[in-house]
């Protein structure tokens, strides 16, 4: 239950970090908050020769409001984002999802970039980023590139990042007024990895849904965004019939895998229940927001 011996590198600037990854990326791993990586190291499921700890690169730990949304540096701790007024008011889906991640001591160390680059399809943040069409910024000594969320998650624990690339920031688009969000998940115990999770965000104008975003976690190798369900919701008042149809559509399309924690049938059933629950909450919050009573944070 101790990691294999490795070389630990602790760069202080982004350039140093990128040089180290160019040299050691192929047999190395980036260490952010370590809340996913260190368990893997302790179990020796990961056996990197080099670890590049980016925790001292101050420029990666910045969360800022921009003209188009909220940009979160990869090293921003989940607990910091959870307490951020900018996240609460401009990125309500992220705000709704964060308290569901593990337990407070994990969120005190865990980072947004670390969780996203880990790419666990049962985790909360990949689902949020996919639902919101977040943009991932990756840097290497070869340059910088932007990766849309839809192309970032490749399969279980595999992302579009190359071995020499570092995820530096994630850009979440701001929400329009009249937007509400909700995150619902079910696990054996609070803080456990969810069996199924649903991220939902709807924007409402004159009582009708103008934009709907839904993403499920825990039902496939990547976050699963049912666009047909989003289309079903647009233009409706998200009444009981529509929500029930949406839940049924999700149950028919998802293909979760059963394991010792839950059968595939159970996960499929719960996906529908959670979708209905998250959609109702998101819609009601959006309506209140549209009425001028901005309760998105509540």
């Amino acid at each position: 239950m101790k990691p294999i011996d490795f070389d630990l590198h602790r760069p202080e600037t982004l350039d140093e970090a990128l040089d180290l990854l160019a040299e050691h990326g192929d047999d190395g791993k980036v260490l952010a908050g370590g809340q996913s990586l260190l368990p893997l190291l302790n179990f020796r499921l990961a056996r990197p020769a080099h670890l590049v700890d980016v925790g001292r690169v101050a420029s990666l730990a910045v969360l800022r409001r921009t003209a188009t949304g909220v940009t979160v540096g990869a090293m921003v701790r989940q607990a910091s984002a959870e307490q951020s007024p900018a996240v609460a008011s401009h990125c309500p889906l992220l705000a709704a999802a964060l308290p569901n991640i593990a337990h407070p001591p994990i969120r005190n160390r865990g980072t947004l970039g670390g969780s996203l680059a880990h790419g666990d399809p049962a985790a909360e943040l990949p689902s949020v980023a996919t639902a919101l069409d977040a943009v991932f910024v990756a840097a290497s000594i070869r340059g910088r590139r932007e990766i849309p969320a839809a192309e970032f998650f490749r399969t279980h624990l595999v992302t579009a990042l190359e071995p020499d690339e570092l995820l530096t920031e994630i850009r979440f688009p701001a929400t329009d007024s009249g937007t509400g969000a909700a995150f619902a998940e079910v696990g054996r115990r609070r803080g456990d990895f969810a069996l199924v999770g649903v991220a939902a965000q709807v924007t409402v104008a004159d009582g009708r849904v103008t934009d709907a975003r839904v993403c499920l976690s825990g039902v496939a190798d990547t976050p699963s965004r049912p666009k047909d369900v989003e289309d079903m919701l647009r233009g409706t008042a998200a009444d009981d019939d529509v929500v029930r149809d949406a839940a049924n559509a999700v149950r028919e399309t998802v293909e979760p895998v059963g394991d010792l924690h839950a059968t595939a049938d159970y996960r499929r059933h719960v996906a529908g229940v959670l979708l209905a629950r998250a959609l109702r909450e998101a819609y009601e919050t959006a309506e209140r927001s549209e009425d001028g009573h901005d309760l998105r944070i509540a």
């Binding site: 490795f6 368990p39 994990i106």
Partner: protein, 167 residues
């Protein structure tokens, strides 16, 4: 051999330092290098909470934090919760009075998580207590007495008055 690192940090108010391998966890550094064995290692993969210490005042799992990552930071362990020889802190007193421990293996982590909670939330409700301690697993006492201990400590710390513990 992997890289070696000089780690300097403040532990329970004292400047401490040591040389250690890059792969050494803060928990192993505290126990093996600094001799502070009050920090217990249960699962060693961040699930059980036994190894909880306070890093710059916030609870963290010291088994999934490298010692090198704690370089330059402030760490508080169970040894720093009350002075040697006593008196115990209000949280520790309350754990004793409410029988909130049995084998004691999880207690260091439970006490530190409780101390951190009361430092930021002097009057926690049950939901807040559960959220703060939910990541700390106890396998023998059960959680009812532990929650009771936090309530008692909160009432005592906040109001500075004795609280009668129910039989």
């Amino acid at each position: 051999m992997g890289t070696r690192h000089r780690v300097q940090l403040t532990v329970n108010g004292e400047r401490r330092s040591g040389d250690t391998a890059g792969r050494t966890s803060l928990a192993d550094f505290l126990r093996d290098t600094l001799g502070l064995t009050g920090t217990h290692l249960g699962c060693e993969h961040g699930v059980c909470g036994a190894c909880t210490v306070l890093l710059d005042g916030s609870p963290v799992r010291s088994c999934i934090l490298l010692a090198a990552q704690a370089d330059g930071h402030d760490v508080r362990t169970i040894e720093g919760v009350s002075p040697p020889g006593g008196p115990l802190s209000p949280v520790q007193e309350a754990f004793c009075e409410t029988h909130a421990m049995q084998c004691g293996f999880c207690t260091s982590g439970m006490v530190l998580a409780s101390e951190a909670l009361l430092a930021t939330t002097p009057h926690p409700d049950d939901a807040e207590i559960d959220e703060a301690l939910g990541g700390n697993i106890c396998r023998c006492t059960g959680y009812v007495q532990i929650r009771e201990a936090v309530r008692v400590a909160a009432a005592r710390t906040a109001d500075d008055e004795r609280v009668v513990v129910r039989d």
